[in-house]
């Protein structure tokens, strides 16, 4: 393994300190940034420093954080709000959970800093109800921070007050979208609204609101401790600092990694992740969750940042990174993601509610071996229109997994529709089981296992599968101890 590929800024305290003890956070420099800011910086300077750092939102779109705060600062409002988006809904992503479980105080400190910068005195952490441990630790952290006077009234004698409350999500991926999140915090169905007005103008309860995700916030205290200039030295031209990825799937060393922007996928997969499980062949890496795309081997060496990922049809997203090996069917993966987005669509706008459902149905057809080449054209055309017309980010990005897999793995789609074959052997309707007469000893194990009694043959003589009756369940394949069944 080659040196230190990882650099931990957002995760600086995770696994190092006791998240349930605020003193450990303070010992590591916690609240020094807030203290310094309240002591010697004007809100405008705080925003300038963040702009200088080049920090961009780590939750998806990559909007410059400083600019976001500046908008909220400029807009007048009787009250203003800071919301921490901890509704990590990407399947296969757990960066935010890890930060909340490992270093919850850093989020509170960052929220207070943002509050000071925009002139907000209230904050909410909107957290997934499925994260009980994170909720517990966050609750303890908030209590301790209040007791220590590091949030609440008149923080460190500065005259600045900032309150933080927790709000629970209830299982809706779309609530990662900021307008839907705000609806949910207000106690409504998490349906997104058309922007403008942006939350920075009319957000929670119609007041200027800034929504930042957990990882973005976790970076903020460090920026003030290490200096915006030094932060901006890390990364690429457009994307500064580091990015946390949840490395999962068919890779040897699954885990949470934090690398400077501009690290290549190869370094992550092979150097940090130690390659593919079982020495199998790499097929694709999926980034950006249901909004992202599948990246093939040919792009393993591009330095990753917001722009480069977008260029190759994926996106940074929140940082889920799933490694797929040669046994993965890309049509099946696209179908998996579409099933997810159709389940999680709020149902408000036509293209997402019906369009994505139709995409999913076409994919089902294809994986069942009933697809045609026209279906492939429909996927592409409809996918493009859904991206172009959907109301919110969920709909606008939902076709990405289909479009990117079609772009890079078109052959696999063609095999499904033309040859009625699933090259990875995943789509069960397209799998064919045959008994190799030479290897079959007639033990009858397969016939016993078959739920549809479609295997016949005499004891100690080669058996045969009636293809017309076979439901392709694979029971015979598993039952055979002599490798006499060929799966193709």
């Amino acid at each position: 393994m080659s040196g230190h590929k990882q650099l931990r800024i957002a995760l600086r305290n995770c696994g190092v300190i006791d998240p349930e003890n605020i003193l450990e956070y303070i010992a590591r420099g916690g609240y020094m940034a807030l203290g310094k800011i309240l002591d010697e910086m004007a809100p405008e300077d705080v925003i300038d420093e963040l702009k200088k750092s080049g920090l961009r939102g780590r939750g998806g779109g990559g909007f410059p954080t400083g600019l976001k705060l500046e908008f909220a600062r400029r807009n007048e409002g009787e009250r203003k709000y800071i919301i921490c988006n901890a509704d990590e809904g990407d399947p296969g992503a757990f960066m935010d959970r890890s930060i909340l479980e490992g270093d919850p105080q850093s989020i509170l400190e960052a929220m207070a800093i943002c509050g000071y910068a925009v002139g907000a005195n209230e904050g909410y952490v909107y957290i997934r109800a499925e994260y009980p441990l994170a909720i517990e630790r966050l609750t303890i952290a908030i209590r301790q921070a209040y007791e220590a006077g590091l949030i609440g009234d008149d923080i460190m004698g500065s005259g600045f007050s900032f309150d933080i409350k927790i709000k629970y999500g209830a299982g809706a991926f779309v609530c990662g979208e900021e307008t839907a999140l705000i609806s949910s915090v207000e106690g409504n169905r998490g349906e997104p609204h058309f922007k403008p007005p942006f939350p920075a103008e009319k957000g929670l309860w119609g007041m200027p609101t800034t929504v930042n995700n957990v990882e973005t916030l976790a970076n903020i205290p460090s920026i003030f401790n290490m200096g915006a200039g030094r932060f901006a030295e890390i990364g690429t031209k457009t994307s500064k600092g580091t990015k946390v990825f949840a490395l999962a799937g068919n890779v040897n060393k699954v885990g949470l990694v934090e690398v400077p922007m501009g690290t290549t996928l190869r370094e992550i997969v092979y150097d940090i992740g130690d390659g593919i499980v079982g020495g199998k062949k790499f097929k694709a890496v999926q980034t950006g969750g249901p909004s992202g795309g599948c990246i093939p081997e040919q792009f393993l060496d591009i330095p990753i940042d917001y722009e480069s990922l977008k260029e190759i049809g994926s996106m940074m997203g929140s940082g889920g990174m799933i490694i797929m090996d040669e046994d993965t069917c890309m049509v099946d993966i696209a179908k998996y993601y579409l099933e997810f987005t159709t389940d999680e669509s709020c149902g408000k706008c036509t293209p997402c509610r019906i369009g994505n459902k139709r995409l999913y149905e076409i994919l089902c057809k294809i994986t069942k071996g009933e697809g045609t080449e026209e279906d492939l054209d429909s996927l592409k055309e409809l996918g493009g229109i859904i991206k172009d017309t959907s109301l919110c980010g969920l709909g606008q990005t939902a076709p990405n997994p289909v479009l990117s897999t079609m772009k890079y793995f078109y052959d696999e789609y063609l095999s499904h529709v033309r040859d009625k074959k699933c090259p990875a052997g995943i789509c069960s309707s397209l799998t064919r089981y045959e008994i190799i007469a030479d290897k079959c000893i007639g033990c009858t194990m397969c016939a016993k296992a078959c739920p549809t009694a479609c295997i016949s043959g005499k004891v100690r003589e080669p058996h045969k599968i009636d293809q017309a009756k076979c439901i392709k369940c694979g029971a015979c394949f598993k039952a055979c101890k002599f490798d006499a069944i060929l799966k193709s």
């Binding site: 990590e88 809904g89 990407d90 399947p91 296969g92 992503a93 757990f94 959970r97 890890s98 109800a129 499925e130 994260y131 709000k167 629970y168 999500g169 209830a170 299982g171 809706a172 991926f173 949910s184 915090v185 207000e186 106690g187 409504n188 169905r189 998490g190 349906e191 309860w205 949840a246 999962a248 799937g249 068919n250 699954v254 885990g255 999926q286 969750g289 889920g320 799933i322 797929m324 993965t328 993966i333 998996y336 993601y337 997810f340 389940d343 999680e344 709020c346």
Partner: protein, 162 residues
């Protein structure tokens, strides 16, 4: 619903919880979480109770309940087994685990066995991707699950031994 006096106690506890909250229009979801914790699910009478207490229309409360997948209007079995269907688990065979579990219990995902013992659920990522595939049985996370482990998990649940 279970016996009446028990339900009454729970309604009292729910009311006390609601009364203890700071005035904030946005409390509906947090209250529904509490109610589901107390009652195990959100039957119509509980939703109506909440709607009347908060002076919200029943349609609004029901609209919120049906929007979020965390809330359920149906009672669950004594034991709830959830299969994580997050991407990491999916690429490591979670759907096989789920179908095998469905076969074993003779019910589909989201259903409860006739004897009321088991409910199967699927979950969208609990964030334990490092241990994929993951099965959560009565709140306990089992990592790197293989089909052969399922029987053991079921027996454990039934016997209450961990």
């Amino acid at each position: 619903m279970c016996n009446n006096s028990l339900a009454e106690e729970k309604f009292k506890e729910l009311d006390a919880f609601i009364d203890g909250l700071e005035e904030d229009e946005g409390n509906l979801i947090v209250i529904l979480h509490k109610a589901q914790n107390l009652f195990g699910y959100l039957p119509r009478e509980v939703q109506l109770h909440v709607s009347r207490k908060l002076k919200l229309s029943a349609a609004k409360v029901n609209g919120v309940v049906t929007f979020y997948s965390y809330f359920t209007e149906e009672p669950k079995g004594q034991h709830v087994i959830s299969v994580c269907m997050g991407t990491a688990c999916f690429v490591r065979g979670a759907s096989d685990i789920l179908s095998s579990l469905q076969e074993k219990l003779g019910i589909k995902c989201g259903e409860t066995t006739k004897d009321g013992k088991f409910t199967i659920d699927s979950l969208r990522c609990v964030g334990a991707c490092g241990l994929a595939p993951v099965v959560i049985a009565d709140g306990r996370v089992h990592g790197r699950v293989e089909i052969d482990d399922l029987d053991k998990i079921l027996v454990e649940l039934e016997s209450g031994v961990r």
